[in-house]
Structure formats: C-alpha cells, structure tokens
C-alpha cells in the first residue's frame, strides 16, 4: 500500500515514528531508524504493508516501510 502524510517523532518506548497519514489515521512506522529519523517532520510518501504483528509501540496499526520518499 502507498500512503502519504507527515512523519512524527513520538517520545514513547525510547522513540517511535508515526505517520500521520492523509487518510486521517496514525500508523507506527516499522523500518530503518536512520531512514525514519531523516524523514522526521517531513511530508512523505510511504510504500509498505500493514503489519498485524506485535511490537513495542502498542499505539495503533503498524506500517512496515518498504520505501519512504520526501514529497
């Protein structure tokens, strides 16, 4: 799936990155921390898949990032 929105840093569990997506939902982004950190605060287009798995975030659906691009 492809989503666009803004990457937000959330100071939870040592640091999480959320995508505040244009569809009105918030996704916890799962991916390279370096890549996510570089996109912090930016509007991005994310290609990835919804991850039904478990994690440290526990704050909503997880989006496993395949690619992330600033727009």
């Amino acid at each position: 799936m492809k989503l666009s929105g803004t990457v937000e840093f959330v100071d939870l569990e040592g640091g999480l990155y959320h995508l505040s997506a244009d569809d009105g939902k918030r996704y916890t982004l799962i991916g390279s921390r370096g890549e996510l950190k570089a996109a912090k605060g930016a509007r991005v287009e994310v290609e990835g898949s919804l991850d039904e798995g478990f994690g440290i975030g526990m704050s909503g659906p997880q989006l496993r990032v395949a690619s992330i691009r600033k727009i």
Binding site: L12, G14, F54, G57
Partner: protein
C-alpha cells in the same frame, strides 16, 4: 489414677506459662501488625518516623515569599494535598543553621502565608544503594522498591525479558544473565540491537549497590533474555508464543512482556495459559494508545496487565486502560519534564554497542516494575502465580482517582507486598501453629496422656516458631543484611522448593519432614520431656500452621499438581503434621 477420672475433670486449663506465652505473642503480633501494615496501606507519603536531616526544613507557601535560610529547592504544586488545583502552592526546601530548626519552624508556623512547615526527615532504612543516580529514579521509590529491599532483593527467581533482547551493559551484572534464546535470528545470541529490552531489563534487575549508575527493582533476580522483536522493535505472534514457552520450560518464573498488538492470537493466548499452568506470572504492558482498549497479550486471561502512571501517580496520557488492567505502576510521564521518565542504562541512541543512561516512558516501562515486584514476592517462597498477583493487587496503594479501568487494584507497592508475605503471613502461620498446639495439649491432658503439671519447654516453642517460619516476622526489619535471617525469611516448608528444585517442593509442602523427624523422637519415652522430642513436637505443630496457612491463602503451586487439588493436598498435609505432633504428645499414655 488419672486414667479413671472423667474427661471433664481432667480438661486442664491452660497453664500460667502458656497463657503468658500466648499473651506475649498476641502483643508482639499487634505491634508487628502495625509495622507490617496488615491493613490496606494508603499511597506512600513522606513519613515523619525517621530522623530529621540537620538544617533542612520543608515549607508549603500559598505564594512565593522570602524565607529564612538558604532556598535549596522549590517548585509550584499544581494540585495540593487537598486537590485544590485552582490555588497553586509553593513547596520550598530551605537550609538553616543546624540547631536552629525548632526556632525557625515555630516562626514559620506562625506566618499566615505558610500552609505548613516541617523538618525534612530521612526514612530509617538499613540499606541504601550507593548507585549515584539512584536518587533520580523516583519510579523505583514510588513502586516501593527501597523498603522492600530490606527483606528481599529477588534472589533465586528468574525473570524472562521477552523483548528486543538484553545487551550486557556495564551496569548489569553478567553473572545474573541466564542463558536465553533469539527467536528472530534462531540462535543463542539474544543481545539487544534496539535499546528497549535492555532498558526494561534494567528496571527489573539493574546492578544495585555497585557504586555505579542506577538501580533495579529486584537486583538479585536473574534475567533471561528472550529476543522475539527485531531491531525495529516488532515481531510475530509465533515468535512471541515460542518465546513464552521456551522461557517457562527453561526455568523463568516471571515473564515480562513489554510489547503488544491489536490482533488476538490463539497461539499466544495458549502460550500465556501454558505459562500460568507451569507456575509463571505473565506481566504485560496494557498498551500506549492513550485510550480505552488494552492490547494483546495483556488482554488475555492469565496475563497481568499493567497501566502506566507518572510521578504524581496519575495515569500517564499515553497509557491504554480497560477492564483487563490489574495494576498501575510508574511508566513515566515526560510531559512533566525529561526526568519524569524512567531512568535505566541501555544502548545509546543509534548504537548497538555503546551504553548510556536514558529516560524512557511507556507502559513497557511500567511493566518491569511489576515484574520485579513479582520476583521479590516469589523469592519469599510464594510459588502460586495467582497468589503473587493477588498479593500485589491487595497491597496496592490507593490510586488518586477511583477508576478501576485506569488503575486496576491501585498503584504498585512492592514494599507492602513484601511485608505481607513475610511478617503479615508469618503472624497467621504462628497463630495457627499455637492454636493447633494448645488444642492438642489440652486434648492430650483431657485424655490423660499428658499430666497437667507437664509443660512444654522452651525448645517446644522454639521448634514451633521455627516450623511456622516465625523469624519471617522480623524480615522487613532487615533480613537482607544478615544472610541467615534472609534464609529464615521463608518458612522451612518453602525451602526445598525455593532452594532446590520445584519438584523438591513436595518434600516441604507436606508432612514428610515432621514425620521423618518424629521417628527418632519417638525413641525417647516421653518426647515432650526431652530436648529433641520437644523440638520436633513443636516443629510438627509449626509445620502444620504453615501448611494450613498455605492451604487457605493458596500461596503454593507444585509441579504437576492441578491447582484445584492443591489446597486439599495442603490441608491434608496440615492435618497429618498436626497428627504427628499430637502423636508425639501421646507417647506412653499415663495410667
């Protein structure tokens, strides 16, 4: 002649000595009840029972104002003691010339703008860890760790951290790391590559009293790293379920799951049920949605769900809540500042090899406070996970608002739980043992097996106290300081299970020990009149008291014993132990 007399005339009344012993025990019991906090305790507040710190005074002002002495700390209180948030108050700590405290206090108390003033007092503790940043760990104090450490530090209990792994940072004793498993990489290298698991592990058992860094809740517990989450902090239900089963099969008695998700997984649910059946406490984070709805695995039956509170004991804004929440614990609330987070050593930001001390917040941080408290309680011989949970809940302090979905039973108070498991329960065991012994003595006299003049000696009472684990009454006063007393903080019936293997529990939690000792004791003509016989007779009654308490409070879990049968096993064993004691009294009936 006695044998021909009627039971009524022979029903001897308690001797003066016995009555004095009972009165003395009742007095000690009452005193210890106060010490032990047998009743539900309110939220921990700074007490006035300790010593005053020379020269320090704390003042609550209605508005900022000049004060005598040097101001060393001040802050505005948003909500005061009386919940009046509309009129903020100013809490100021001042330093005055030592010796002038009383004079300054009198002067302050006469001022209209001073709401209250009191000397700063120091709690009397026998052990204060020398970890330099321990003073910043408000969360350990709030969870009652300090006062619990005088009785136990979690020896002998393995806590599995089912997370991103544990990195062997320098403030973690490598000797306390058990062998773990990496379910992500499928190998035995369960080192952390994220920082989350190491932080969680630190809250449970960071090296404490080592003059370095920070402290942990149960510093003598062993940590088992189970890596089920990758470097990105995510994992699968399959790996988590496997991790739970592996940890329990390899000896973990407490499982810490600072993770979750919204999807219900039958594999994980059955793994949680398996862990519970095998005698483990499964402590799980409620979730970080900031709304109603507890995540899985916390929401499964058999999990012990933990919500998070900040330094003031109020639910943290991010914490999930719901009917499954069992208890609340400090998880940090950094909306009140960085240092309102939870401080532990973990991997430095962005590193997989360098360590740093970092402030985290989340229900993941609240969970290990509870897991550590569970380890403290289990190290005191409480092996039934349901009893551990019930103890933690029943001793939780009152939450700042009445809302079970947010706080469960209340705020975690590890010290209160430890006090109850030692001195609180010790009193009950002793009371049962004494009542059983007095009843047996009375009956033995009534039927002519013991002369009215025949009194149990000091060794009888010593044996009874020992069997009932009476020294546990003193444990909260500093058992950890004295190795032998630490050992005696548990009733001897709990020793085989606690110090040998779970299966050895059958040796202690039965009448086998008093029975085995009774055989040589019966070689003497009148056991009560010999040192060894008196000791063993008393021990049998003490053991019976311990078994009866364990049956009624359901504190014990034995391998392969269905939990429904456990109380009956213990009850029957208590009766056997009592019969052993009664049998020793009956040796050679008088004619």
């Amino acid at each position: 002649m006695l044998g021909t007399m009627t039971a009524g005339t022979l029903r001897a009344r308690l001797g003066l000595r016995e009555r004095l012993i009972v009165a003395a025990i009742a007095l000690v019991a009452l005193l210890l009840c106060g010490l032990a906090g047998c009743s539900r305790t309110p939220a921990p507040v700074l007490g006035i029972t300790g010593d005053s710190v020379p020269g320090l005074i704390e003042v609550e002002l209605s508005a900022p104002a000049a004060l005598p002495g040097k101001v060393i700390d001040q802050e505005a209180q948003e909500d005061d003691l009386f919940g009046d948030a509309l009129s903020p108050e100013y809490d100021v700590e001042i330093e005055v010339e030592p010796g002038t405290e009383a004079q300054v206090l009198a002067q302050l108390r006469g001022r209209a703008d001073v709401i209250w003033a009191e000397p700063v007092v120091r709690y009397q503790r026998l052990w204060v860890p020398d970890d330099p940043d321990f003073s910043k760990q408000w969360h350990l104090k709030a969870a009652g760790a300090e006062r619990a450490w005088d009785a136990t530090r979690g020896e002998g209990v393995t806590v599995a951290v089912i997370d991103t792994g544990i990195y062997p940072v320098d403030d973690l004793d490598p000797g306390r790391l058990a062998k773990g498993w990496n379910f992500v990489g499928h190998n035995d290298d369960a080192r952390d590559d994220h920082a989350h698991g190491t932080h969680v592990a630190g809250t449970i058992a960071q090296s404490t009293g080592n003059g370095k860094g920070v402290a942990g809740m149960a510093p003598q517990a062993r940590l088992m790293p189970i890596k089920v989450l990758s470097a990105s902090g995510s994992g699968t239900s399959h790996d988590i379920a496997e991790g739970i089963r592996w940890a329990v099969d390899h000896g973990a008695r407490v499982l810490n799951l600072s993770l979750g998700g919204g999807a219900r997984s039958l594999a994980m649910e059955s793994a949680v049920a398996y862990a519970r059946r095998r005698g483990a406490v499964v402590v799980c984070a409620a979730g970080n949605s900031g709304s109603r709805g507890v995540s899985y695995p916390a929401a499964y039956r058999g999990s012990f769900a933990v919500s998070a509170v900040g330094p003031k004991g109020r639910l943290a804004p991010y914490s999930s809540f719901g009917p499954e929440v069992a208890i609340a614990a400090p998880g940090g609330d950094k909306s009140q500042g960085e240092e309102a987070g939870v401080l532990q050593q973990t991997l430095a930001e962005g590193s997989t090899t360098e360590a740093d001390y970092r402030w985290f917040q989340g229900t993941s941080m609240a969970t290990p406070h509870v897991a550590g408290a569970a380890a403290l309680v289990m190290s005191l011989g409480v092996s039934n996970p349901a009893a551990v949970e019930s103890l933690l809940k029943s001793t939780a302090s009152t939450a700042p608002e009445s809302n079970r979905e947010k706080y469960g039973a209340g705020l975690l108070d590890a010290a209160a739980a430890v006090r109850r498991a030692t001195s609180g329960w010790g009193l009950w065991r002793l009371a049962f043992a004494i009542l059983g012994a007095l009843f047996a003595l009375k009956h033995a006299r009534a039927v002519g097996q013991v002369r009215a003049s025949e009194k149990p000696g000091a060794l009888f009472w010593a044996g009874l106290g020992f069997g009932a684990g009476a020294l546990a009454l003193l444990a909260p006063l500093g058992a950890e300081r004295i190795p032998l007393l630490s050992f005696l903080a548990l009733p001897p019936a709990a020793w085989p299970q606690r110090f040998l293997t779970p299966f050895a529990g059958y040796l202690g939690w039965s009448a086998l020990v008093p029975l085995a000792l009774a055989l040589p004791a019966r070689l003497s003509a009148r056991p009560l009149q010999t040192a060894f016989g008196g000791l063993v007779t008393g021990l049998a009654f003490g053991w019976a008291g311990t078994l009866l308490h364990a049956a009624l409070w359901r504190t014990v879990d034995l391998p392969w014993m269905p939990s429904l049968l456990m109380p009956f096993w213990l009850l029957l064993s208590a009766v056997f132990a009592w019969v052993v004691g009664r049998g020793l009294l009956a040796r050679e009936p008088l004619r």
